[in-house]
Symmetry: C2
Subunit: 145 residues, 2 copies
DNA sequence: TTATATTAGTTGACGTATCAATTATTGAGC
DNA sequence: GCTCAATAATTGATACGTCAACTAATATAA
């Protein structure tokens, strides 16, 4: 009896994670004006002068295909600039445009506001503990099987 | 200085949540043989004799359109049966087929194995605290703005 | 009873992630 | 130098979620 309801709660945890994601996606975008992934890409670009798509992909850790598509769209919008490496034509280097560099500041302010809202009633202790647990979950998922 | 790195960690929490989801989706499906949403639908059906799509949609809380499509595919696979309410033709009632009722047992065992793996190094205390925090996050997201 | 509103379900358009296959370029071994 | 392997990027197919528009059936109100 003591153990029997333990799994039910475990299931709730996993379901909660799933639902949090589903609800976050549209809310994040309507608040910040940009998707989470795309902002993450821009943020990485913000930190460097120029970077290859491959290296960028490794940093954000999403599929190559998705990276290509995001960057193409960001290029169409004039947020980023892409150019081939003259030394090795396989590589495409990406950098933020001036406009991109300006816009990202606003996006990040909105993201900060969003995050503050989501965690507003969490103490420093709780945040630390939560991050630690999420990190463990992530590792467990990666190492599973 | 003390406060300044607090936001960085908050950001990590949100990014972690996002990445956990992205990694869970394919892993869950390859482990259990079914997607999380679809299993949730089947699970709700398992609990009742018959239910309208509308009521089912409210329970799992995803878009009507997604519910319709899932159920149609599950029907094609012979997992569920659908019929119109003769009293009110707007309603479609859904129920598990015999085959569906059998198969879901296996799916749920695999899900249990998956969840156990993901949370294997969590104490009862931690699980409780984690669930509580996730619940708060979910509420904060819903109430945001 | 007839026009209008509401409700359940479906379909279409879109965004974005995955995996697999393909293209283009470079590097390595013979 | 030429073949074959490795690598970066792209494209195609598929899955699944959202919102919006639509259809069909029923309820309401004049």
């Amino acid at each position: 009896m003591l153990l029997s309801n333990s799994y039910i709660d475990d299931e709730k945890i996993i379901n909660r994670l799933y639902e949090i994601h589903r609800r976050t996606v549209p809310k994040f975008e309507s608040c910040t004006g940009i998707s989470q992934t795309r902002l993450e890409l821009l943020h990485e670009l913000y930190e460097v002068e120029e970077i290859s798509q491959r290296a960028l992909q490794k940093k954000v850790n999403i599929d190559h295909a998705a990276v290509t598509r995001h960057l193409k769209q960001l290029e169409d919008k004039g947020m980023v600039v892409r150019r081939k490496d003259p030394k090795d034509q396989r590589f495409t280097y990406v950098s933020l445009s001036e406009e991109g560099r300006l816009k990202i500041i606003h996006y990040r302010e909105e993201k900060e506001r969003f995050i503050s809202g989501v965690l507003h009633d969490f103490s420093a202790e709780e945040r630390k503990s939560l991050l630690e647990m999420l990190t463990r979950i992530q590792r467990n998922i990666e190492c599973f099987e």
